[in-house]
Amino acid sequence: MDKTHPDGALTGLRVLDLSHGIAGPFAARLLGDHGAEVIKIERPIKGDFARTLPPLKDSAPEPERSLLFQYLNWNKRSLALDLRLVENRPLLQQLIEQSDIVVESFRPGRLEQWGLSVDQMLEWKPNLVVTSITNFGQTGPYAQFAASDLTLQALSGIMHISGQVDREPLKHGLSQSFYCAGLTAAYAAIMAYTAAHADGCGEHVDVSIHECLASELVLNESYYAFLGAVQGRRAVVQDPFAGEPILTRKGYLAFQTGGGAPVETLAELFDRPEFREKRFASPPEREKRVPEVKALLEECVANRDAKEVFLAGAQKRLLLGVVQSAEDLLACEHLKERQAFTELEHPATQTTLRMPAELAKLSLTPTSVRRRAPLLDEHRAEILAQLRSAI
C-alpha cells in the first residue's frame, strides 16, 4: 500500500462489500476513504451491475466501461465469487471472520436463501457489523417492493413539495436518493462499529433509502404535526428572495435574504437606490408586491454575468447563489484551492478524470484515494494468498 498517505481514521478496519449499484458501494467506498481495507465481492463474469451504469467509455472492454463505477469503487480490491454456490461458503466464512463491517444491498431475504443470513454471519463473527441498504428496509409491507430514484422521491414526499403548484411534482435531478443513502449507511456503519468494538456485541444496521429521503422533510413533517397544514408545491410567482433562479446575461442567480447584509446593500451592488425605499427594504412591504420586486431584480441583472454578481454580492455579505454546471464546477477557483478534486487515472478506460474526493477535512486523519477502482476479480490471487497466510 502507498505509504505517502497519512493513516485514516479507519486504518486497520476490514470491510467486506457485498453490495452493488450506487448506495451500498458508495457507502463502502466512504469507509475506504477513511483508511479501511475494502474487499469488494462481485458476481463472476458481469460483476456489479454498476459496471453498466453511464457515463460509459464505449471503447473500453466489458465489464470495465463504466466511469461511474470507478467513482463508486476506488480504495477497493475485487474478488469475483458466486454467493449462491455452497462450495464458496468456506471462503466466505473466512472472509467474514476477518471483517469488521459487511455492507450488503440484496433484496431482504436473499442472503438468507443462500445460507448467509445475518444470524449466520454473527455466529461466525460475533462482533461483526452488517449494514444492509435497501429501498424500503428489511421489514414492513413495502420491504420487497421495487424502486427507482423517481419512485423513491415520490413515496418519500419530496416530490409533493417540489415543482410549481400548477404543474406536476418535480424530482430532484440525477440520482440523489442513492447518494443520500450511501452517506447515511456509511456513518451508521462506523457508528455501529464503534458500539460493537466497545461492548463486543455485533449489530445489524437496516438502512432504508426511502426513510433517508423522508428524513429530509423536517419542515414538511412539522407543518402537519404541529398545525395540520399539508405543504404544497411552489407558487406560480415566487418571492424572488426564496432562491428561484433568475436569468442574467450569462447564467442564473439565486437570491436569499438574511445573510450578514441588509437588503439595502442591493442598492449599492446594482447602483439602484430603490432598494433603500421601504417598499423594497421592508419584508412585509416586499411580500405585498412580489411581481414588482422580481421585475426589478431581473432588470438589475439583465446586463450582468451571474458569476460576477455572485462574487461581488457575496463579498458584501449578501446571500447569493450562482447556478453552476459541471463545467463551472470543474473550473471553480474555490474548489481548486480547497483541493476538492483528485485526478484519477484508469488503465481499463485509459482516462484521466478529475473527481470530487474529499467530503470534509479531518485535521489528523484526512481521507485519501489510495488505489483506483479494481478490474473485476483483479485481486483474486492476492486476497486468497492473504487468507491462506492468516490461517
Binding site: 485514516g8 463508486l72 416530490m159 440523489q176 462506523i190 423536517v218 413533517e221 467530503l359 485535521s363
Partner: protein
Amino acid sequence: MTPTPSLPLTGMRVLDLSYVFAVPYMAGLLSDLGAEVIKIEAPHKLDQTRGRAFGPYLDNDPASDPWNRSGIFYVVNRGKRSLSLDLGQAEGQAIFRELVLKSDIVLENYTPRVMRKWGLNYDELKKIKPSLIMLSNTGYGSTGPWSSFPSQGTTLEATMGITFYTGYRGDKPWKVGQSYPDFIACWAGLNALWAAIAHMRKTGQGQWIDVGMYQLGVAMMPEPLIQKQLDGTEPIRMGNEHAEHVPSNLYPARGQDQWIALTVETDHQWRALTSLMQRPELANDPRYVTAAARRSNREAVNALVAEWCYTHEPAVLFKQLQGCGIASGPVLNSRDLLQNEHLQHRQFYEAVQHPEPIGVRPIIGRPYKLRFRDARIKKSGPRFGEDNDAILRDILGKTPEQISALKASNAVCDLPTNPGISGTMDTQSMLKQGTLAAVDQDYRALSLAQRQESK
C-alpha cells in the same frame, strides 16, 4: 460473561452551538444514540427554527412564548438540553471553556472568523481538552477564496450544481427546495464525526473537522462531472424522465392532484406493463419492444401510459405495478406520510411527549434500524434556556449566587433578549396560492390514531 449491547455515545457530552438545520440535526441524531447534547443558544439571537422564519407555531398561534412553540425546532433539536449563554461576553466564554473540559464533542456553524474572535477556535479549545473533537460546518469551508461568503441551503443548492440538473423539460434550472444541501451536509458531517470518534476511541486523540457544504454537494453529482470530461456534453433537464429507461415518469392518476411514478427498467417489465394496461398488442410492437425502441418513441410511450394511469386510483396502480415487480409509487404528502402503513410498521415517526400545550407529537426518527441497540428519541427538544440552572449547578458546580450573578450580567438568560417579530402564517392566502394543499382541523386526532396503531 455475555456482553450487553449498549448505545455508542452513552456517557458522552456534546456541546452544540449551531443554528438552523445541518448541524442541529447532526446533534439531535447523536442524542438518539445516548449522548447528552447541550444546545447553547445566544440570548440575543434565536435559532431561526425557533422563530417565524421557519415556524410553524403550534396551531399557528405564537402565544406569549413563540420560541417554545415552533414545530421544526422540536423535530431537529429532539433530545437536547438548552443553555442560553452569551459567548460574546467574557463570562460566557469562561463558562463555555469550563464546559469544554467536561465535554467530548463541540459542533458549530458560525462563519470561520467568529469562533476565532471569541478565542474559541479549535487550537484554543484543544489546550483545555486534548481529546476534544470539534466540527465546524460552513458553506465553503474554512479556507479558500470563498470561505468568508455567507451561505444557506437555499442559495448553495444553485452553486453546488443540483439546480442546473433539476427542472421541467425545456425549462430553466429549478430550485430543488427544502434546504437540500443541509441534509447532505448533516450526513457527510456525521461520517467525518464518527470517523473522528472511532479514531479518538483508538488513540485518545481529538481533531478538528472542517466541513464545507459546497464541496460535499459536488460529490453527490459525479455523473455530469464525468460526462463533461468524457465528451464535453452536459445532461439535459428532462423533468421526471430518465435518460435510459422509458417509461420512467410521473403520470396523473384519478383524483385531484394524484400522481403515480413508475420506472420500467427491462423489456420484460414493459411486457408486464402492457398486460396490466390490457394492451397485449403493444407487447410485441416493434416501436416499443426494446429499450432502444422505447427511447426513440418516448412521447408515444408516455402518452400510452398516461392514458392508462389517468383512469385509475394511485393506490390501485401502485399495488398492481409492484405486483409485477415494476418500480412505482404515488406522490405522498405530509398527511399521507404520517399515516403510511409502511412507515407506521417501521415506527419511523416516534411519538414524543412534549411540554404542554404541545403534548404528544410524532417526530421523524432515524432512517435506519438497529437490531440490538435501543436507539430512540429520548425526550422532546428543550424550551429556550430550560436547563440553565441544572447545567450550571450539576455539571459546573455553580452556587445559586454564582448563577444569579451570571443572569444579572445577561451572560445567561432565561428568556430571549431579542426574540424578533413573531406572527402567524397566512394560511388562507397560502391555500389560495396552492402553497398549502390543506389545513386539517382534526390533525391531532389523525396523528393520535396513527400513534395508537403503531404501538
